[in-house]
Amino acid sequence: MTDKKAWDLSRRELMKMGLALGAGSALGGVLPGSARAQQLTMDWWWWGEQELPGLQKVVDGAVAAYKEATIKPMLQDTAVVISQFQTAAAAGNAPDIQYLWNGIYHMESVWFGYLRGLKELVKPEILTASTPTALSNFGGDTYRVGWYPLPMMWIYNKKLFEQAKLDPNAPPKTWEELLTACEALKTAGIEPLGGGIQDGYWSEWYISHSLPQNLDTIGEAVELFIGDKDFRDPKYHEHWTKLEELKTKGYLNADMSSLELYPGIDLVPAGKLAMGQSIGTRLPADLKTANGEVGVMTMPVFGKGKLAGIPLLDVQGLGISSNAEDPKAAAAFLEFLNAPEQLKAFWDATGWIPSNTTFDTSVITDATVRSMWETWGLGKNISNVTNVMPGQFYERAAIPTGQQIVQGSMTGEQAGELAAATAKEWREFNPDLVENYQKWVVDLSAG
């Protein structure tokens, strides 16, 4: 039962409280920034615990350590990371800081005017060191600060290579070498290549590695969608023809169509599959599973484009919404996340590298992981081309083509036709976005 008396305030007491509040507000104007900022509250919507366990700890630690403002974090559900932000932004209620996937997954929000350019807000050296990638650039500005990197690579099982009498320290570099290695593995009774494509992501990753092989810039990929280039040109569907070749020669694992991405990757460290696509965040655990017998490689080269054979680096990032009450304060928090002690805390909590080229790599004890990061993260790298794909193309062409080729119901050439038809369909459905894509080509071709 509520004690009513406890809530009864006399007029005098009310006046006292009013005076105290008024004095507090007035003092706020003359107190130093650090004391005043306690009153500033910023919302931070984030995602990533799902793909990088330990990130929750990073977030909690950063929020607790930050004294310039109160940060209210909220972990988003995977299905609504974009739609929740866009809906809130359209209603003027977006969080101050928003987690952003790369490329089109945040660029659409840029075009809608939901995100702020960061060049004027974040210190240039921090912005550059965080490696937001070229896909965050539009109209001369940059819209994300990098948070954590996702190097994309092929992995192989060294023991299985040895069993097939292949050099475990010299993975294939060219397509011909790959076919030779696959044949040797197959002859030795080992499934040479593949993974799991049932949930479609393997299709996407395959395009990430293979389509750039015949491109000179990422902007050239965008030209395929806006109609300046055509997927029916053999050069632009050669990657699917190569996948068809792997299928027809029997080099892909038999259960590939019914396995999902991650169980498919598991086959390589488990010694059941010789080669597959993977991602850097998995490498420490896979090395542990396979007692260090996992090697990393770039996709063997078949193409003649300038991007062929260059390591692939995707980066997840953070941005500032147009609704941010105090964009400078939001930028200060993003800079705080890139401070050396926060980068170290990131490593301690996740066992993974934060996206910052100034991160002290001496803490990485595993030689394979360090070498991978030096090559993929600190060396010359390219962005993930599938991140410039319109969603409609991704769902209708990028995913189904790979699945159908792997199950043997589509050729590489047919995949090119489907891709061209889907790109045309996308242009009809989204005449407004085509215009923005045309402008984006300028930034992407420069990068």
């Binding site: 939901y114 049932q198 995913i399 159908q404």
Partner: protein, 294 residues
């Protein structure tokens, strides 16, 4: 009756009507409105029937409709399976009360749970194929969820297994209300199991069977999303082999940021569902009538 008293009943129900209008009517109106707009974010310019033209001109939409129609093939199977099991239980075989609970379990479990389990079972190297290979039936060890030709049938198997549970319970409940003396008399007259089912039980079940068929039709057309989402790897795959209209709408709205397109497809699905509601009401009336005239 004066004017005030005539209005009184309406005033009593008005708050609920307004609440219903807000909860169901407002979203419906917005969906109709969005279907005529090129929505970006939360609104967009009016474009007339363009969204409908784009949807109806897209192969994927018609492929989705075809998959929904294919799923209708499951209904006769569900009816037969449900009737068969219900009659067996009605005959009160030993342990029938326990069986009754067991057969209803699939319907109680959430679809994603049973779909995930089923998906593991039907993997190419999964338990189903392992058993088939062990029995030297290799030719039957198909790529159940990885082949475009088979995946939709796998979804159908799962739907039949789960949705039949509802049929069994509905049919059994109806049978329990039948006049047992007639069935006993038939037994005494020497009618066998099939004759009793065919000439005594089934004719009295018409109303409830119609009801189940209509409910199942609505399910197949507009409530199979969870099945295809899980079995199709969240993509309606392999390829587009398990994309149904609901999934098409989900993709348009969530994955490709096309609320206008999603709304146009939703409006069409809604109108088809509304058309099916009339036979549903008729079937319910008939079932109630059967019950009353028994």
């Amino acid at each position: 009756m004066n004017r005030t008293s005539r209005l009184t009943p309406y005033l009593y129900v008005a708050p609920l009507v307004l609440l219903m209008a807000f909860v169901f009517g407002y979203p419906l109106v917005r969906i109709f409105e969005f279907s005529f707009k090129m929505v970006r974010g939360i609104d967009g310019p009016w474009i007339g029937l363009r969204n409908y033209q784009l949807v109806l001109g897209q192969d994927l939409f018609w492929e989705s409709v075809l998959h929904n129609l294919q799923l209708l093939l499951a209904i006769p199977v569900m009816v037969v399976v449900s009737l068969f099991v219900a009659i067996l239980l009605y005959e009160r075989v030993a342990g029938w009360k326990l069986y009754r609970i067991i057969v209803f379990v699939p319907f109680v479990l959430a679809i994603p749970i049973i779909a995930v389990v089923m998906k593991r079972m039907f993997q190419f190297s999964g338990p189903v194929n392992e058993v088939l290979r062990w029995l030297s039936l290799d030719f039957m060890a198909l790529d159940w969820i990885g082949s475009s030709e088979v995946a939709l049938w796998t979804v159908m198997i799962l739907i039949i297994w789960r949705e039949s549970a509802l049929g069994i319970i509905l049919f059994l409940a109806r049978m329990m209300s039948l006049d047992e003396s007639v069935i006993e008399a038939a037994k005494l007259e020497g009618a066998n199991w099939w004759q009793r089912a065919r000439y005594i039980i089934l004719p009295q079940m018409r109303g409830v069977i119609e009801f189940f068929v209509v409910v199942s039709t609505i399910t197949m057309l507009s409530a199979v999303f969870a099945y295809v989402y899980v079995i199709g790897g969240g993509r309606g795959g392999p390829g587009t082999a398990t994309v149904v209209v609901e999934f098409y709408i989900f993709n348009a709205l969530i994955r490709t940021s096309l609320p206008g397109i999603a709304s146009a497809a939703s409006v069409m699905l809604f109108l088809v569902s509304v058309l099916l509601i009339f036979p549903l009401f008729r079937a319910r009336r008939r079932a109630a009538l059967d019950e009353a005239t028994r």
